[in-house]
Amino acid sequence: MKKLAWLAVLTAALGLLWAPAVLAGEIKVGGIFDITGPTSDVGKDYGEGAVAAEKYINAKGGIDGDMLKLIPNDYAYKIPEAVNLYKKYLSVDKVFVIQGWGTGDTNALRPLVNKDKVVFFSASYDGNLTDPKQTPYNFFIGTDYSTSIRAAVKFAKDSGAKKFVFIYPDHPYGKNPIPAGKEYAQAVGLEIGPDEIVELKAIDATSQLLHMKQFDPDFAWIGGTTASTAVIIKDAAKLGLRTKFVINCWGFDENLAKLAGEAAVGRAYGMVPVAPFGADVPGMKAVVESAGGKEMSLHYVKSWVSNLVMAEGLKRAKKAGKLDGPGLVAALETIKDFDTGGLTAPITYTASDHRPNTTLTIYTIGQGAKMDKVKEVTMPREAKDVGK
């Protein structure tokens, strides 16, 4: 009995201790991150970036005096868990803006977000989140996957490729951009081989690559995250494939060189929408300082920019006197050529197009496991591609 009583006291104490105190002038932000799930290889840095950016924004005076309060939680890349967290943020914390993560859950939350009028910043740059007619409350800061995959195909074509293959995990993140890529590849006259599925948690891709070897493509798209990308590249080197890889923005970072080593040199090309951590751009100084001497990856930068843009939107919304979901949307849609200090290309949202920009930088892994810049690419921003 004593034990039970203790338990009750302890529970009550916990509850009281951590009862959320509502302070005046505080804007709560829900955080849905993957710290322990299949995309935690890149999700961890992203989560930490969001926390660091919140601290930085608050140190700079917050949202004109209102402090941001980020409530970060792990959802382990599980859609139902994301829905649970979302409901908790809405009913308990009463948020109207959320920093979210994956493609699957962001798409899954679309109907709820629209119904509840909550602005949802995702780390998923899925093209079908860019049409305000369908998804008025979804925003993100990187070049959308569909534009990235077109840029990747174009890069392969310009490098003299004739045969092309798509490798991706069987997950919305991997699958959603594929139709745009295929359509574009066909339009530029590439021969497309059979798709290969390599899961996010794969530790071996030999069978898929052996199968791909029969078609022997010049270039292949990898739509996974860093860990599985490293597996593919290492196995490709082991099997002696001549195929080069163009990689989506979550599969290519500073860690890829460490994980894949020599195998990545001359084989990996990443479609990167942000400046890598520590790059020589004006906005990077604060980012590096916030990390406190730790070497972070470019995903940290992505998260930083996402929070920066959110803060800018909040400031404009506050000035307009409408600090809620629809008010934030209206404020964000006034953002035009927003300068992120070189961390990304200038960002523009309009009421008919939520694509932040269509510019990305192609990087490769050169000698000494360094990320070398190949070139900056700007794809045409065509109205017909909105939401695709």
Binding site: A19, G47, E48, I71, D74, N84, K88, P111, L112, K175
Partner: protein, 357 residues
């Protein structure tokens, strides 16, 4: 006044509510459950939890856990496929709802579909027992998992299937169960129905046959229990209940994807009834509460520590999983008969208090 419970008729011995006190307590509990959403909001603010949401999940899991408890706790047949059977129910309900079926038809259909699938995969139970049956039902888990993920025309593949909220339009009533609070009452009804059904079933000939099959199947066969019939029936009823749970889940979360109905969910169901108490009606209830409440409670210190040390919140998130695992192990070590047994101990203590001897 008798110093204990002495029944002079079998009907009384078998009654669901045996004493007046029990009836009073049950009535109080029922009133509490009915009025819970009214004060949930205040408690939410105080605790930092979304209690209504948690209760809804608990109710859904209670329906499913009762199902598995019937199979594993009462009939002694293990199943590692119940996560997938829940998925069958969820997808059936979701697909039918998208075809315009009202939820009160889609839910039973979900249960029936899950029951049919469960009975097919329960066929090996005729020959296999114990670990071998566990492996055979695990095969069901893998097959169904694969189907949910790759039968895209039907299930929407890995992108998931969006399900409309349950509503009463078909009855001419303009009401939609689209909020946590409204769904609470829907889920409550099903949890109560499932509990009453399980409790009642254990009192019938069928329930006794299940227990006989569990305790000594040879003896059961000798005294005339048709093993084949009762094993398959147990699989059927059990899968029906877990299918209903899946249907409720679909209408509650309104998006279903294969990644929820994995091996892990099957194991979680087993863990629920083991932690709660195998072969007790209360086992499923306690197990469901334990597995929904504990991770949420563990989130509170993680969130609070994140407030203090924001830069290492990633570690707290991982710690949460580890602490959860540790607590489950400790429970199994110190309370191997489950929470239901502990509950009986506590109740027995208070029944005689303060004159226990």
């Amino acid at each position: 006044m008798p110093c204990g419970l002495f029944f002079s008729r079998y009907e009384k011995d078998d009654a669901i509510f045996q004493t007046t006190w029990l009836k009073v307590w049950m009535a109080l509990l029922f009133v509490f459950l009915l009025t819970f959403p009214l004060y949930a909001d205040q408690a939410n603010g105080l605790l930092g939890l979304n209690l209504t949401n948690m209760m809804n999940l608990i109710f859904i899991y209670i329906v499913g856990a009762h199902g598995l408890n019937l199979l594993t706790g009462y009939t002694g047949q293990i199943s590692l496929g119940h996560g997938a059977f829940m998925g069958v129910g969820a997808y059936t309900a979701g697909i039918l709802a998208n075809l315009g079926w009202p939820f009160y038809l889609a839910l039973p259909a979900a249960g029936l579909m899950a029951a049919a699938v469960g009975m097919v995969f329960g066929l090996p139970s005729l020959r296999l027992r114990g670990l071998y049956l566990a492996i055979a039902t695990m095969a069901a888990q893998f097959i169904l998992d694969y189907a949910m993920r790759n039968w895209e025309g039907l299930t929407g593949g890995s992108a998931g299937l969006i399900v409309p909220s349950a509503d009463l339009q078909g009855l001419g009533i303009d009401f939609t169960f689209d909020s946590d609070r409204s769904f609470y009452y829907l889920a409550l009804v099903f949890a109560v129905l499932a509990t009453l059904y399980l409790k009642n079933l254990t009192r019938t000939r069928t329930g006794r046959a299940f227990v006989a099959v569990r305790d000594r199947y040879l003896a059961a066969e000798v005294i005339g229990v048709n093993l084949f019939k009762y094993r398959i029936m147990s699989f059927g009823i059990s899968s029906f209940m877990v299918g209903i749970a899946g249907g409720l889940w679909a209408f509650y979360i309104t998006i279903i994807s294969d990644e929820h109905f994995t091996m892990w969910l099957s194991v979680q169901y087993l863990a629920m009834i083991i932690v709660g108490g195998l072969g007790h009606v209360l086992g499923g209830i306690f197990g469901a509460i334990f597995f929904v409440v504990l991770p949420e409670l563990l989130r509170l210190p993680a969130e609070a520590l994140t407030d203090i040390y924001p830069s290492i919140f990633g570690i707290f998130a991982s710690l949460r999983e580890m602490v959860f695992g540790l607590i489950v192990i400790l429970f199994l070590v110190f309370e191997p008969d489950g929470l239901a047994a502990r509950w009986h101990t506590v109740r027995a203590y208070w029944k005689l208090w303060p004159f226990s001897y």
